[in-house]
């Protein structure tokens, strides 16, 4: 199966690669508790693009990956690039399913749609200006065995833990970044709107299915009736066949519409990821530095400055234990006072430097995150507009089929 979209993936030699999730297969194996399980693996194929461009057609490198490995890759990327909106994976389990469609993970249609979703994920990651350079991604595409160990060795899970801790500290942050909170609000709305749309679409699909299928009864009855009639028989009989065809046509129509639903779902999941991302960005920076830490550093600086002032002027403005003890246990000697002032001044200078540094770092990360979000927004507008156009094309196709079938039926009725 050839891909019709290529994406540049830069490896160390800066060669671009063509990526494709070509096939899916069932495997049997043993899971972590040594129980038999059946799972699906997907064939990931890559080819260097320059070879393709030159007209050579080398066999693609290929390896098999299962869904959980894609999940691992994504989690790694999430932790490692907290200022990037990481593309979503297709759903783990089928949701928003209209009643005739299977919710079974092993169902061939589900597997096929998941294959497409996984391919989209890889293509998006590989075409991202930042993510495409990642070594772990490159290993994922080229090293079938031992890849998992390499990922674990990066220690990203520990970073994930510290991020979680940082996130849990967010309630102490007093000034969450407004821009990111606004974007989070937007992504919450996007989630809500896409899921409402998906639910409504499912109900419409169910009803439309009913309308088409009931026409199958005409087929049966016309056929029986035609046996009783002399002059009308032929016309009725052939009209009945067209009614059967009409009833059968809805299956393909709705199967195709699932692809549209998948495109919307992709952005539902993107919105979920974005919401978490914005929340993180609003309250928390790179995992080594949290805004919390920044604020603590700033608060620390402020309190040191206050202390300095108190010592210098002798006026106690705010309650401090040290101040109290001084009062209780008597004033300190002037030399001690001088030493403390000097130390404080040094600490303040250091603190100011730290805050300055960390502010700059913060702003850099904020800028990068903001850039990535703009990129996401543009991509979303483009992708979803395309999805809506595809939907219109599907509707047109359905209308053409309907016109055809009822014209045929009309011709049969004319013969009655």
């Amino acid at each position: 199966m050839l891909c019709d979209v290529t994406a540049p993936v830069a490896d160390e030699a800066s060669a671009l690669m063509e990526i494709c999730v070509a096939e899916a297969e069932k495997r049997n194996g043993r899971n972590t508790v040594n129980m038999q399980e059946t799972f699906t693996v997907y064939l990931v194929e890559t080819r260097p693009m320059d070879a393709v461009a030159e007209g050579r057609n080398p066999a693609p490198d290929s390896l098999w990956r299962r869904y959980s490995e894609f999940e691992l890759l994504r989690n790694y990327l999430l932790v490692t690039y907290p200022y990037i909106v990481v593309p979503p994976l297709p759903e783990k389990r089928a949701e928003f399913v209209w009643h005739k469609l299977s919710a079974d993970n092993m169902d061939p249609d589900f597997v096929e749609r998941r294959r497409i979703g996984l391919e989209n994920f890889l293509l998006r990651v590989a075409s991202h200006p930042v993510l495409s350079n990642d070594k772990i991604l490159h290993h994922f595409l080229t090293e079938e065995h031992g890849w998992k160990e390499v990922v674990y060795e990066t220690g990203f899970q520990a970073k994930a833990d510290s991020r979680l801790r940082a996130l849990s500290a967010t309630f102490r942050v007093r000034n969450p970044d407004k821009r990111f909170m606004e974007m989070k609000h937007y992504s919450d709305e996007l989630q809500s709107h896409t899921s409402q749309l998906l639910r409504a679409r499912v109900r419409v699909a169910d009803r439309l299915y009913g309308v088409y299928k009931v026409h199958g009864n005409y087929g049966r009855v016309f056929s029986e009736w035609s046996a009783v009639e002399k002059e009308m028989g032929d016309g009725l009989q052939s009209a009945g066949h067209h009614m059967d065809a009409f009833a059968a046509s809805i299956d393909d129509i709705l199967e195709e519409e699932e692809h549209y639903a998948d495109q919307l779902k992709e952005y539902l999941f993107y919105a979920e990821a974005l919401s978490a991302f914005c929340f993180g960005r609003a309250v928390c920076r790179k995992h080594e530095l949290t805004q919390f830490e920044l604020e603590m550093a700033s608060q620390d600086l402020v309190s040191k400055k206050q202390q300095h002032e108190e010592i210098a002027t002798g006026i106690v403005r705010t309650f401090s234990f040290k101040g109290m003890t001084n009062k209780l246990f008597g004033q300190e000697a002037p030399e001690q006072r001088e030493a403390r002032l000097k130390l404080l001044e040094e600490l303040i200078a250091e603190g100011e430097e730290t805050v300055k540094e960390k502010t700059v770092e913060c702003e850099e990360h904020v800028d990068r995150a903001w850039v990535d979000m703009q990129r996401f927004k543009e991509q979303k507008d483009k992708d979803l507009r395309e999805a809506l156009i595809n939907y219109a094309v599907m509707q047109i196709s359905m209308c053409k089929k309907g016109t055809q079938m009822w014209s045929n039926a009309k011709d049969c009725f004319l013969k009655m």
Partner: protein, 390 residues
């Protein structure tokens, strides 16, 4: 995926058409006593008779009796409430004194007319009237839909009668169309002529003795039974389609707002989202019209013939009870052929109209979506890499 056979799990949509869940009550024919005056050479009249596709398309010069039923009005008295219909007649027939008449009749009066026609022409097929009541799901006898449906059925009845070579010359029809007050006529018992007819028949039967039933009538009886079942099935399927369409329409109406609401929180994407919302809304309107059409064209036509079939079954009982003279046999046979042709024409016309409406529905929806594509500056033909819908 596309096959002609229907898999078992679609049973929810395949109707059990043997089960009679309609509890409609139709007006039963009053007892038919005695014969009527002998028709004037009915066979010659049958030969003169021409088939028409649609009553409204009948050429003016072949039809000399036009009847309309309209303007329903509620009348309230101390005792009852009922609806009066205006019955307007235009005619060039010499049997009528004037060329135009206007009277007011209620449903009861139509019942009277039909019973008289059947009484006097037991060998002929008289078109049915709409039911007296509909038991299931009918709450208000006077709601507008019910009255309109009834009005149309009453008009169809009179139209059919007016086209019948024999029945249209009935004295009772003339009275019905012209008398300002029907009451005096209703009070009459079976007339002198009908009593005469009874005597003639009795004599004839004693002369000929028992007649073996002609084969044609066995066939007719069989056909009537089969037809009755099939036409009821088609009627049921059609009703079910309307039900499913209505539910589909309800969901569509909730679907397009999801696009519009989403558009409110979007920038560039708002325009295509609103475009899709508008398309879905317009398709909803087309669906609504499609449902209206089914209800007003196909359903009444099918329903008439469901009633017809019931009438014919009873008719047949009458035939088997009465011994008839040769003339009567021919009259019925001629009328039977006429009826069959009429049935074929009526149902063909109704199915054709339905198919045409459906084609129109899909064409309109297609235009709606194509204009959306154009608004997105996309050529409708180009999107699918040359792939064409069948």
């Amino acid at each position: 995926m596309s096959g002609q056979t229907v898999p078992a799990d679609f049973s929810g949509h395949m109707l059990d058409l043997d089960e009679d869940d309609d509890l409609e009550v139709f007006s039963k024919n009053p007892s038919l006593a005695g014969g009527g005056p002998m028709p004037n050479s009915p066979s010659s009249m049958v030969n003169q008779y021409r088939l028409e596709e649609e009553e409204e398309q009948q050429e003016a010069n072949a039809r000399d009796l036009f009847i309309t039923v309209d303007d329903p009005e509620s009348h309230v008295t101390a005792v009852e409430t009922f609806v009066m219909y205006r019955v307007a007649t235009k005619t060039t027939r010499s049997q009528f004194d004037s060329s135009e008449y206007e009277v007011h009749r209620r449903y009861q009066d139509f019942l009277w007319l039909r019973s008289k026609l059947e009484e006097n022409h037991p060998t002929l097929i008289v078109h049915p009237l709409p039911e007296k009541f509909v038991m299931k799901g009918m709450v208000e006898r006077f709601n507008n839909d019910f009255i309109e449906t009834r009005r149309r059925a009453l008009q169809r009845f009179l139209s059919k009668v007016s086209l019948h070579p024999v029945l249209s010359h009935s004295h009772h029809l003339e009275v019905f169309l012209t008398a300002q007050d029907l009451l005096p006529y209703k009070k009459q018992g079976p007339g002198f002529l009908s009593r005469l007819g009874e005597t003639v028949r009795a004599v004839a039967s004693s002369v000929r003795g028992l007649k073996s039933r002609p084969e044609e009538f066995s066939l007719m009886k069989e056909y009537v039974e089969d037809f009755s079942i099939k036409i009821s099935s088609v009627d049921k399927v059609t009703q079910r389609i309307i039900k499913e369409q209505r539910e589909y329409l309800d969901e569509l109406k909730q679907y397009n707002p999801t696009y519009a609401q989403w558009a409110e929180s979007e920038g560039e994407l708002a325009e295509p989202l609103n475009g899709v919302a508008s398309c879905v809304e317009r398709c909803s309107k087309e669906t609504d019209e499609q449902i209206q059409h089914l209800s007003s064209v196909l359903v009444p036509a099918l329903h008439d013939y469901v009633l017809c079939a019931e009438t014919l079954k009873l008719q047949d009982e009458v035939d088997s009870l009465a011994d008839r003279v040769e003339l009567a046999n021919n009259a019925l046979k001629g009328d039977w052929t006429r009826w069959q042709d009429g049935m074929r024409a009526d149902l063909k016309s109704a199915f054709l109209s339905t198919a045409e409406k459906n084609v129109e529905y899909y064409e309109q929806c297609l235009a709606v979506w194509e204009s959306f594509l154009l608004s997105q500056r996309v050529e409708p033909g180009e999107q699918r890499d040359g792939e064409d819908a069948s």
